[in-house]
């Protein structure tokens, strides 16, 4: 496991959640593995930690499902990298999973209550 600073505040991703986040990241256009990991980390204010040991299996899984399609290309700083593009099916899947995710998180939220309500 990669060890980085202040791990205590970071959250290991649940299986399945990572898939959703990858798909979500790719909405903004093709991206390579490192870029995806970086984007997830940044957009979550460095709270979500992407374990590369599970990133690449997840990419392979999504590729196998036909939700993303790979293509070798050139990165912004002129390096060859494998870029992943969201497919039409991937988009549908994202919509399905996102709404499901929102339902769950809403449910959890309503059970836990707003943080401020705690006395």
């Amino acid at each position: 496991m990669p060890t980085q600073k202040d791990d205590r505040d970071r959250i290991a991703l649940l299986q399945g959640t990572l898939d959703l986040l990858i798909l979500r990241t790719l909405i903004f256009g093709p991206q390579h593995g490192q870029g995806i990991a970086r984007a997830i980390q940044q957009s979550s204010d460095d709270v979500l930690l992407v374990d590369h040991g599970s990133l690449y299996p997840a990419l392979q899984r999504l590729e196998a499902q036909g939700w993303i399609s790979p293509q070798w290309g050139t990165s912004e700083n002129n390096r060859r990298a494998r870029f992943y593009t969201l497919t039409k099916q991937g988009r549908k899947q994202l919509a399905r999973e996102a709404s499901q995710w929102r339902r769950i998180s809403k449910a959890i939220h309503s059970v836990l209550g707003p943080e401020t309500a705690e006395s």
Binding site: Q60, E63, A64, A81, R82
Partner: protein
């Protein structure tokens, strides 16, 4: 998933490389040096090799790949230690081979006892009269006809009887096993002939032309498989029978049956044909086929109703008689069933011991391979991968053992054949077949998983450091694994104990059985049987005349010290039980059976057979057909029926067709003999003079110093002088014929003896292995002890202490288990109880002796340890 396009590892490696470089570039952008950025990028990515392995494993049939790898490795390993491989494969082969061989017998005899179509629908229909103690007996022809017409539950019904007829005109005169049948038998069995036809109802009408169906064997041996045999005439008891059919090779009925017989309709039989008009006889064995969907209970209810009807119609004859139905398979297998299940159980125990042994071997080896496995784990092998590899190794071993076991089974089934009791049903159908093969292979697989699991789990369970350390300071006790090995050895001793006790009990029973005094002494007695064709020699006077002609002729031959006629002979012939009444005495108390076993004998019989006369006189030449009817009774008969009066001079009346009106006077009392079997205590017995109550045929017994062959020649010559068409058969010494009657107990005793020997050997090997291993592990410790002043005797005592504990635990466990298990074989025992203390004591002594020897050999090595060498051992 399957449509996934293959992506090669190179491509994936490139992607990872790109990732790291991109990350490094980003970090450089944040101000890190080139080297630090790359290092940080690598660190943050984690284990590249693991990622690549994940990719690799997810993209192909990795299990198959590993299996191939493991198999190659296992083969290399097995080749590298041929001693271990040989012992393991042999152990397993013995277990599987013996199990398969016995299972082959069980498969043929118990699982498929009847070679007929839909044989589970066949039921044996018998009569019984419980109030007279008659449990199961045959029916008369008239009763059977009534059953056949009145029942609503059977599709068909057939009756049989059997005896020998003499076949002449085809080579030497001989007797041929003749099954006398009602014509529906073949259609009931749904059997088709090889040639010609089976019987029609018309064949059994009075006055019909005599017809015969040949068995394939007789057709082959006496008719050289002549396809033109149909329509030819064969002479049976000097009467012509037309051949109408030949049955195929595997067919025989009733089961189990002698080979090479013939079938004739009952109306044509010289003996049973004359019984047909009488309703009171009980001579036909009746078998019927249930209609589809009819249960045995429904059939029984229906036959009960039929019986009530018959009893109402013929109260004088049929009163108190009942009808009993049993599955034919059950009747056929009968007494063999138990013995075979016991043997199968015993052989499975042997297999279990073999497995424990193999487990022990593999466990020892897994321990000594601890370092290798630790290295593998350190190099990144997963726990599952290690277990899988070890399992592959033991499975490969199991497969080798299975194959060797199947070969051994083929050989074993062949080797068993001569020892199989001849009255075993389906004995000729015993062979290693597909089912049995499957059974063996499953056994091999199950056994290998069984013994592969333990070492695999232990090997993979240990943590790295312990394994590295172990190589240096092998502990004295061996820890958890040592305990498991000791436990296995204890189990082996306990299992071997069970087998030894079982075998010991059977051996003791067999020795008691064969040394039981039957009440007669036939050490130098030879028997020969002369059959009289019943159409020619149809009158009792002729039988008597023939005997009177033959006896002095044979007696006059040199070497024949004493010759007599007796029928039936005790033990070697089926006994004859006759009803009688005592006209002089008070009526018998209710419930006391009014039957006794019976024989017709010539005056010399008691001297030839060595049966002592206790009171009165034996028969003499004056007891002819003309003289007053006389009778000898046995001691038991005298005590049972003449308790308060002197039997001599009393009268006995037989319920016997040929003798019904005659009252016989008791002239003597002779000693009891065992006439039913060696194992059955003598019951009441009556003898009548052959001249007064002759039976057809002459069974000669002669006290002689000649060989059976010489007797056969002499008797044949003399018989030929009287009638050259008379066959002389079944010549041999009486002891050999009596011996043949204990073939079944001998068979099971022999087999269980072999199995327990194997078990003992395997258990000894197990103990040897455990002690050898513990000596090897403790070499250093022993060296230290000896360097500190311990004597070899102390070391031996230490080892003996450990082995003694194992032996004690095994024996205690074994005794407890044996006490439970031997109850199962109590019905197979004779003269000893299942808890026989002598057997238990002997077995315990033998086990202790064997364990001591097996442990002493390696322990001796411990005593000879040179402290200097031992301390340098590591």
């Amino acid at each position: 998933m399957l449509k996934k396009p293959q992506r090669d590892a190179q491509d994936f490696a490139g992607e990872i490389q790109a990732h790291i470089e991109l990350e490094a570039a980003r970090l450089r952008g944040e101000g890190l040096s080139a080297k630090d950025a790359l290092d940080a990028a690598r660190r943050s990515f984690g284990n590249v090799t693991t990622a690549q392995e994940h990719f690799y494993e997810s993209s192909r049939l990795i299990g198959l790949h590993h299996l191939g790898q493991d198999l190659r490795y296992a083969a290399r390993l097995l080749r590298k230690s041929p001693g271990f491989t040989l012992v393991a494969v042999l152990t397993l082969a013995l277990g599987i081979g013996a199990t398969t061989a016995i299972f082959s017998v069980v498969d043929a005899v118990l699982l498929n006892p009847l070679p007929y179509a839909d044989s589970s629908a066949l039921v044996f229909v018998s009569e019984a009269k419980p109030q007279n103690g008659v449990k199961t007996t045959g029916a008369s022809y008239l009763d059977m006809q009534a059953w056949r017409e009145q029942n609503t539950v059977f599709t068909e019904m057939g009756g049989t009887q059997a005896h020998d007829l003499s076949l002449t005109g085809r080579g030497d005169p001989t007797t041929v096993h003749t099954v006398v049948v009602t014509p529906e038998l073949f259609s009931m069995l749904q059997e088709k002939p090889l040639l010609g036809r089976t019987f029609f109802a018309e064949d059994n009408k009075k006055g019909a032309a005599p017809v015969v169906i040949l068995s394939e064997q007789l057709w082959r041996e006496r008719f050289s498989s002549d396809p033109q045999v149909l329509g030819t005439t064969v002479s049976l008891d000097q009467r012509g029978f037309t051949v109408v059919g030949v049955m195929p090779a595997g067919f025989h009925f009733p089961p189990p049956s002698k080979k090479g017989g013939i079938w004739i309709p009952i109306v044509q039989d010289p003996v049973f044909g004359t019984f047909l008009p009488s309703r009171g006889g009980h001579y036909l064995s009746v078998v019927a086929r249930l209609k589809p969907g009819v249960s045995l209970a429904q059939a029984q209810a229906n036959m009960d109703a039929v019986n009530t009807n018959i009893v109402r119609q013929f109260p004088a004859i049929n009163n108190a008689w009942q009808i009993h139905l049993q599955p034919l398979e059950q009747v056929t297998v009968g007494s063999v069933r138990k013995a075979l299940w016991v043997l199968l159980g015993a052989v499975l125990l042997v297999l279990l011991i073999a497995c424990a042994n193999i487990a022990n071997l593999l466990l020892s080896r897994a321990t000594s391979r601890g370092k290798e496995i630790a290295v593998r784990i350190a190099l990144g092998a997963g726990r599952r991968r290690i277990i899988f590899q070890l399992l592959t190794e033991s499975a490969a071993l199991g497969l080798c053992g299975g194959i060797a076991g199947v070969l051994l089974a083929y050989w074993g089934v062949k080797a068993l054949a001569p020892f199989l009791p001849s009255d075993l049903p389906q004995a000729d159908a015993i062979h290693v077949n597909g089912v049995v093969l499957l059974f063996a292979l499953l056994l091999g697989l199950a056994a290998s998983v069984l013994f592969g699991l333990a070492p695999a789990l232990f090997a993979a369970d240990t943590n790295l450091q312990a394994n590295f350390r172990e190589e240096r300071g092998r502990g004295s006790s061996g820890g958890k694994r040592g305990r498991v090995r000791n436990l296995l050895a204890v189990v082996e001793i306990a299992l071997a104990m069970i087998l030894l006790v079982g075998a010991g009990l059977l051996v003791r029973s067999f020795l008691l059985l064969t040394s039981v005094s039957p009440g007669f002494d036939v050490t130098h007695v030879v028997k020969a049987e002369v059959s009289l064709p019943q159409f020619q020699y149809s009158k009792p006077q002729q039988w008597d005349a023939f005997a009177n002609d033959l006896l002095p002729r044979v007696q006059a031959q040199p070497g024949m010290q004493e010759t007599a006629i007796g029928l039936p002979l005790p033990i070697v012939h089926p006994f004859v039980n006759l009803g009688f009444s005592l006209p002089d005495g008070p009526p018998l108390p209710p419930g006391m059976p009014d039957t006794a076993d019976y024989a017709s004998v010539s005056p010399n019989y008691f001297r030839v057979m060595g049966i002592p006369l206790l009171r009165g006189r034996v028969f003499n030449d004056h007891d002819s057909a003309m003289a007053p009817p006389v009778l000898l009774i046995s001691e038991t008969m005298a005590q049972t029926y003449f308790a308060n009066r002197d039997p001599l001079g009393q009268h006995v009346k037989f319920f016997f067709l040929a003798d019904a009106p005659v009252s016989r006077q008791v002239v003597g009392i002779v000693a009891d003999v065992r006439d039913v079997s060696l194992s059955q205590a003598p019951g009441p017995m009556m003898y009548a003079p052959f001249s007064q109550l002759p039976l057809w045929g002459a069974i000669l017994v002669t006290r002689t110093s000649l060989s059976p062959g010489a007797v056969a020649t002499a008797v044949r010559q003399q018989v030929a002088k009287i009638d050259r068409n008379l066959p002389v058969t079944d010549v041999g010494t009486m002891p050999s014929f009596i011996d043949a009657t204990v073939a079944q107990p001998r068979f099971r005793t022999l087999l269980l003896g072999i199995f327990s020997g194997l078990a003992l050997l395997l258990a000894a090997a197990g103990i040897f292995g455990v002690v050898s291993y513990s000596v090897a592990c403790q070499t250093r410790e022993i060296g230290i002890r000896m360097a500190l002043g311990a004597l070899p005797g102390d070391i031996l005592r230490r080892m003996a202490n450990g082995v003694g504990k194992m032996a004690l635990a095994g024996i205690v466990l074994g005794i407890a288990a044996s006490l439970g298990v031997t109850r199962l074989i109590s019905t197979l025992l004779f003269g000893v109880r299942a808890t026989d203390p002598v057997t238990f004591a002997v077995v315990v002594a033998v086990l202790i002796g064997v364990v001591a020897i097996a442990a002493y050999l390696p322990a001796r090595r411990a005593m000879r340890v040179d402290p200097v060498v031992a301390l340098r051992h590591e």
